[in-house]
Symmetry: C2
Subunit: 348 residues, 2 copies
């Protein structure tokens, strides 16, 4: 069934017509539109797609004939006129507060707390899995090519620039997020994006990056040429934590259970206190989708969900270790999507 | 005066305490914090900065001692507790609807329609102008280097990848936005980001790109090796339209007047109907800031505002022309920030 039909079926069953969609990833998911500004308004009968003059040609190319396309010069005015005839309209939390306050003068706006589109997006279809595999292939190839030219004595920024260049010439539209190349003490910053710091031969280096090809990839690998026992041990423990999570992920288990067992495993080594973020997240069109593998998420894992698994430990002013794989949940377990990069840490 | 002090002075005068800031560019502007998640809460007495464990080290490094830093594990819970003791709190339109609906249970939320921070940000200070100059320098250098290696017969994606690589190795954190390399018929898409289309020798090519170095640049240049009279004439006319706007921009004139005279100039040649977007926008921390040069913006231009000037004409299925300079408004006119790239269109 087409995604639009699936969504309309759900909205009909749950009595959520009319429904105004404002999130650009939701809009791409439902309509295939890849531009930067548009709105979708769904009623029992109509599928209205609203965009502006910049996207007239593009929207006619990308949308099929399920849609009635409106080219407008003022979004607030057009949307206001369009929804006025209804008593109440369902919207999602991603709607901008400016528009919300403009429209609420005309009509009651009900926020769909359940977020039906996000629930739909959590279970990937075949087409999506194909695109995600491609994003992992491109990212893996880019790191392999980069490892051939990465040299100590260069800046984190230079490594990141080259890795991103490699992703793009191999087909990525952009990086999934600002590439993290965090070496030595900067590794202790879980979000330490590439800086002007020189990468020294004894530094452990966290490389957390991904390719955005409409669907994204997200991978973390490490480089460590040194011989410090503690660092080598921690690399092994973090890698084992990834494996433990991978062994347990399957349909029926709850998200927080995977987080809990990883945290517990790290506690054996006294490392749980240095692990200060979630274990992983879903991804697809966006890098961070729901559900997530953290202490609070009670979602039951289902087939065709996709999760990153990225435990890390951070020692302020010293160094950090993180390794990240991504899995596709299958009937009886999961498949590792990031396995093209067999090694989890490298010497260069 | 420090930006924080300036803002607090304005909030005091306008009676807008307490004030909750949620936009990350606003937060960077006020506090110097460069991470991805934080909130600022200003009262007469206190300057509270709220972030999570990932940014503990970083926030202490980046913020000065004006701030009381709170590291929290749940933003909604902490913010809810913090603002509960007030009757009403001012917020900006950029606040997420989810948080808005969570907090409005505890306290009245008033949206600052005037958006005091955005008004402050429109007038750049010396420090900001220095950073913006750097972003233009890096972008200009990157295009100069790229022009030496760009070849016809390659894809738009490859050109974009190389240009972005050049910006990054020269110091950019990322591209300001997805690089537009739109050749031949794709030039008619005003937002035609680089695709897998091969660039042919007879194609006019729009290159619209910029470097984000905390502050951004935004430049459009064209490549045209062909000899079609119509295209060469339109290049001249668009370049003249840019010059006309530059001649008129100065303190005291209204934004829409600059747009109007450009549109009128294009009408002389019957080209106004092919010019379907605004003439330009402010930029700084973000690529699109206010005020903007369009038909509706009544803002009076002031010294130290910065505007892009980017007229374009688009002929569906044929080609497009756009040229973009950026100006810093001075006492009696303006300075062109993008002038390092002297030529507006190139042969390669």
């Amino acid at each position: 069934m087409k995604r639009l039909d699936k969504l309309k079926h759900i909205l009909e069953k749950s009595g959520k017509f009319p429904y105004l969609i404002t999130d650009m990833s939701d809009i791409f998911y439902i309509s295939n539109f890849t531009g930067s500004t548009a709105y979708i308004f769904l009623t029992e009968k109509d599928n209205i797609f609203v965009t502006d003059g910049r996207y007239e040609v593009q929207s006619r190319e990308e949308l099929d004939d399920s849609w009635s396309i409106k080219i407008v010069s003022s979004y607030p005015d057009f949307l206001s006129d369009m929804i006025k005839k209804y008593k109440r309209v369902f919207v999602t939390e991603s709607m901008g507060l400016g528009l919300y306050n403009h429209l609420i003068k005309d009509v009651e706006l009900l926020i769909d707390q359940k977020n039906e589109i996000s629930l739909l997006r959590a279970i990937k279809d075949e087409e999506e899995i194909k695109h995600i595999r491609k994003a992992y292939k491109i990212a893996s190839l880019a790191l392999e090519n980069s490892l051939k030219v990465f040299k100590f004595g260069e800046t984190e920024r230079c490594w990141a620039a080259y890795l991103e260049y490699q992703m793009k010439v191999n087909g990525a539209n952009r990086e999934s997020f600002d590439t993290i190349i965090a070496s030595g003490y900067r590794g202790a910053l879980p979000h330490g994006v590439a800086s002007d710091k020189i990468i020294e031969p004894e530094n452990p280096v966290i490389i957390d990056y991904g390719a955005d090809c409409r669907y994204v990839s997200d991978i973390t690998r490490m480089i460590y040429n040194g011989k410090e026992r503690e660092i080598l041990d921690n690399l092994e423990i973090i890698s084992d934590t990834v494996d433990l999570a991978i062994q347990h992920i399957k349909p029926g288990i709850k998200c927080h259970e995977i987080y809990d067992l990883s945290k517990k495993y790290l506690a054996r080594y006294g490392l749980d206190v240095y692990f200060n973020h979630g274990l992983g997240h879903s991804l697809g069109i966006d890098v961070h989708e729901k559900p997530v593998l953290n202490a609070k998420d009670n979602t039951i894992i289902e087939e065709n969900m996709i999760f990153t698994i990225e435990p890390g430990v951070y020692f302020p002013d010293k160094y950090g270790i993180r390794i990240e794989e991504t899995v596709l949940v299958k009937k009886n377990g999961c498949e590792i999507l990031s396995s093209m990069l067999k090694d989890r840490y490298f010497k260069i």
